[in-house]
Subunit: 186 residues, 2 copies
Amino acid sequence: MDKFDFDQFLTRVLQHPTFEQCGVELHYKKGDHLFSQGEVCRDVFCMRSGLVKFYFNTLEGKEWIKSFIVDKGVLGSRSSQLLEMASPFSALCLEDTEVVRFPYKRFEEVCFEDLELARTIFQFSQWLGLKKELREYQLLCLSAEEGYQAFVDANPTLVDRLTQIDIARYLGITPIALSRIKKRLA
Amino acid sequence: MDKFDFDQFLTRVLQHPTFEQCGVELHYKKGDHLFSQGEVCRDVFCMRSGLVKFYFNTLEGKEWIKSFIVDKGVLGSRSSQLLEMASPFSALCLEDTEVVRFPYKRFEEVCFEDLELARTIFQFSQWLGLKKELREYQLLCLSAEEGYQAFVDANPTLVDRLTQIDIARYLGITPIALSRIKKRLA
DNA sequence: CATTTTTATTAACCTAGGTTAATGCACGCT
DNA sequence: AGCGTGCATTAACCTAGGTTAATAAAAATG
């Protein structure tokens, strides 16, 4: 469960009659938003390919990146889905991205009818929990330099698909600081 | 779902025949560990009263606090439960604490038999996800001063039960820095 | 009740990272 | 091709927080 099999996950979910019926295939271009901070977005996005960043815009006009979703995955705004609240963050495509979109409520309903699917989704949410735990650890315990190294080690191919600005915003530092760190390490 | 009803949760879980049978009531004293970093702990702890901190010890000999569990809650080490890995953090009682302990595997098994319980646990894990999202936001986007204010606002009564050291370790700063922040705010 | 052991505060100094601004590159665009 | 926009680097300066250390108050501990 260290790595999660999204191919299998997507197959299982998207083959389900409910989602074959209510799922909408969408092709987003680089620069498009899946949803934006401040909106309520009750959907689930099953991502087949592409690259998406979740980011916050602060009151001081700064941007911080919550996470990247790479190639395949499942995404959405939890607080919108569960509490019908405005999403606290935006989802922006950094590359052309293909998704199937459907309402979260359907997802929840199906979960309690189809035990096999419930199990699959349970596994996904456990995996996500582990990832979030790691992120929390890195933000809390690692210096900027350690955090950068950990990010590069864990995502060797992703690094080349991102700007230094976005990597820095993910680590919680400025691009200038990241430039200095890279110089220090080289 | 903004606040989670642990009274109801604990009642439902602990009334279940499986946990009435395999659950062990334990009374920990202030200073006791529920489990320690480096050990595998496959248990779930249903907490009835007390105060527990989850903390990391880094290689440089520093301590950082992952979270506090206050009064009532459910806790354990996810990576131990799911992956049978050594826990990356320790759980220490800051006050006398009463729990019921049982193996996580049982928990998982029961979930797939008892749909009502599965629903309850699903709600809990969603609530936990929301909490972790907020924590991620605060670590990533807030300054130490903003983080302290947010912590005090969200946990007005908890603050008096913690030392300044532990609050600082939770915010990711030193107690000295927190002392300066308090002075600045007063 | 006296004695360690923790905790909180403050001061002096240090350092990593933030800020502003200038420069040179590498693109995507018409 | 030529233009503009965004990206990466570097420098100079500033600031929040880290470090060490001294002090005093408050808790545990016997």
